[in-house]
């Protein structure tokens, strides 16, 4: 049976999404964790993970100019739409010197290589990061590390998802818990693609509201059931109410509220699960939200009654 994939997203970063995913993983019976926040993956910091496997990942090719073959005609520089080619002498040196490619800016389109009359440009696989497999106390976790200015985070997210699916099938685990990427661009689109259910973690602030509308619109395009939870609701109870109303108006399900407590940060510092840390009812809030989600997931895991 195909495992059920729950993706947790937030639009804006810093709403406590990763800490919640970690807490849910503790509450779920066995599941596969997938950290798709490949830009700044943190889930492994919570779960004391133990690295099992590490595979390099190339998101795009890069161009490189062979100075021995290059005749300085300037065609490549003129054709590169991404300002990735520095012209002769472009690095500030006054000495005669060939054009060079800045690997951080090169988009790997290959246009320069195609049109170079001397065939002086080669394309090579860039090192854009690693896909990692780790063991945690809640089950296996697939995560990734994107290299500096690495690309293509959307593709890397796709790879993480694929490996998580294979693992789940192999080990007969029926739930994949995905820590999604922030924003609304390519990595989050890749996080949502193929997921069965989305949970948006938001916070009661004008920016949280603003981002919720944008991310809900995106999730809506995928046509999957979408739930909303408000973190730190008591920072602004009035906005928390507005978010709940807005969510319901937009046809989203409301999964509940979680109070403001720096127990998340304390748990991080002590290297513990937030559920094991003394707090003022925070753990109960999290259990409550998880029970709503869990009930929904269970419904999906059961074959539809005929």
């Amino acid at each position: 049976m195909k495992p059920t994939e729950l993706v947790v997203i937030s639009g804006k970063g810093g709403t406590g999404k990763t800490s919640l995913v970690a807490a849910f993983a503790t509450l779920a019976a066995e599941c596969v964790l997938a950290d798709c926040d490949v830009d700044a993956s943190n889930l492994h910091l919570i779960h004391h993970s133990e690295l099992v496997l590490r595979e390099p990942f190339s998101g795009r090719v890069r161009a490189s100019i062979d100075p021995d073959r290059c005749t300085d005609c300037g065609i490549c520089e003129a054709m590169c739409r991404f300002d990735a080619i520095l012209p002769t002498g472009g690095n500030g040196s006054s000495m005669a010197f060939h054009p060079t490619v800045n690997p951080h800016l090169c988009e790997g389109c290959g246009v320069c290589a195609w049109f170079c009359p001397e065939k002086a440009i080669d394309l090579y696989d860039g090192e854009d990061g690693h896909v990692l497999l780790s063991k945690t106390r809640c089950g296996p976790m697939v995560h990734a590390r994107l290299g500096v200015a690495g690309e293509n985070s959307g593709k890397l997210v796709g790879l993480v998802r694929e490996q998580a699916r294979e693992l789940a099938t192999m080990r007969e685990l029926d739930t994949i818990l995905i820590d999604g990427s922030p924003g609304i661009g390519c990595p989050v689109i890749a996080s949502l693609t193929g997921a069965d259910m989305a949970l948006i973690v938001t916070e009661p602030s004008v920016s949280g509201m603003h981002d919720l509308k944008r991310i809900a619109e995106l999730a809506d395009g995928f046509g999957i059931p979408t739930l909303v939870a408000v973190n730190r609701w008591d920072v602004n109870p009035q906005l928390a109410d507005e978010i709940e109303t807005l969510a319901k108006e937009q046809g989203l399900e409301f999964a509940g509220r979680i109070r403001y407590d720096n127990a998340f940060s304390r748990a991080q510092l002590e290297g513990k699960s937030v559920l094991d840390i003394e707090s003022n009812g925070l753990a109960d809030d999290i259990r409550q939200v998880w029970s709503v989600i869990h009930a929904r997931l269970d419904g999906m895991n059961q074959p539809e009654a005929l």
């Binding site: 810093g14 830009d39 700044a40 988009e107 246009v111 959307g154 661009g185 602030s205 995106l218 602004n236």
Partner: protein, 290 residues
Amino acid sequence: MKLAIASGKGGAGKTMVATNLAWTAAQQGVKTAFLDCDVEEPNAALFLKPDIENVIPVHVPKPVINQDVCTHCGLCSDICRYNALAVLSDKVLLFNELCHSCGGCVHVCPEHAIHEEPRLVGHIDAGHAGALKVCTGVLKVGEAIAPPVVKAVKQQAGDETLTILDSPPGTACPAVETVRDADFVLFVAEATPFGRHDLALAIDLAQALKRPFAVMLNRADLDHGETRRWCEENGFRVLAEIDEDRRIAEKCSSGELVVDALPDYREVFTKLLEDVVAAAEITTNERVQG
């Protein structure tokens, strides 16, 4: 001077710092522009509340194929490294969302059957909040590729003495596009293990792009000085620290500027502005001379 305010991860307080710094500068009479380059989630305008005078559309070139002239030779799909073109026996299909607008297909087509037309991918809200110029880049929902919108926002910089760029979080292409030609980068990080982990990645990026930078710690008292010590040990300059304060969370949640709502923080931002400008000037001079 172009000053980018960046962070390894969203939610560290980057927009809070960027908006308060820009507001402080403008109130001192410094001619300042604020460019919100966090085009996936642009939030700064919620705090600065500018009057919008202009909505500028952002387009990217999109190839358009003249099916009447096309001979289905397949060259355009050969050159396209993003699988955005499929040549069928009777027509050529373009998948917009995969196209990077590299122009390869246009140049390669032997029949000159491909030309480019603008395709809307976002817009810029341009205006002023008092004397402060504010431009916000907004990526259209459903569009995957943010850098063209970031580039367009950056072009809004004029003859201001100070330009503050609110960078997208992280280290991927939208952040690279924002930070690549900034004169100085100020990283905002939370003093937690997450914060430190993400700060290290963000600093790697600044170093790879050869940008001078410094750090400002938010919620600095959380880890009892561990992140500050880590910065010192690694030679990263910490310009300012703000301790955890629920009042800041509350004021930010309703869209208020900290320097307006909590006067006790004015001094912190005035001093941070002085220090960051001084640090940027020193590194700029060093580069000119070195």
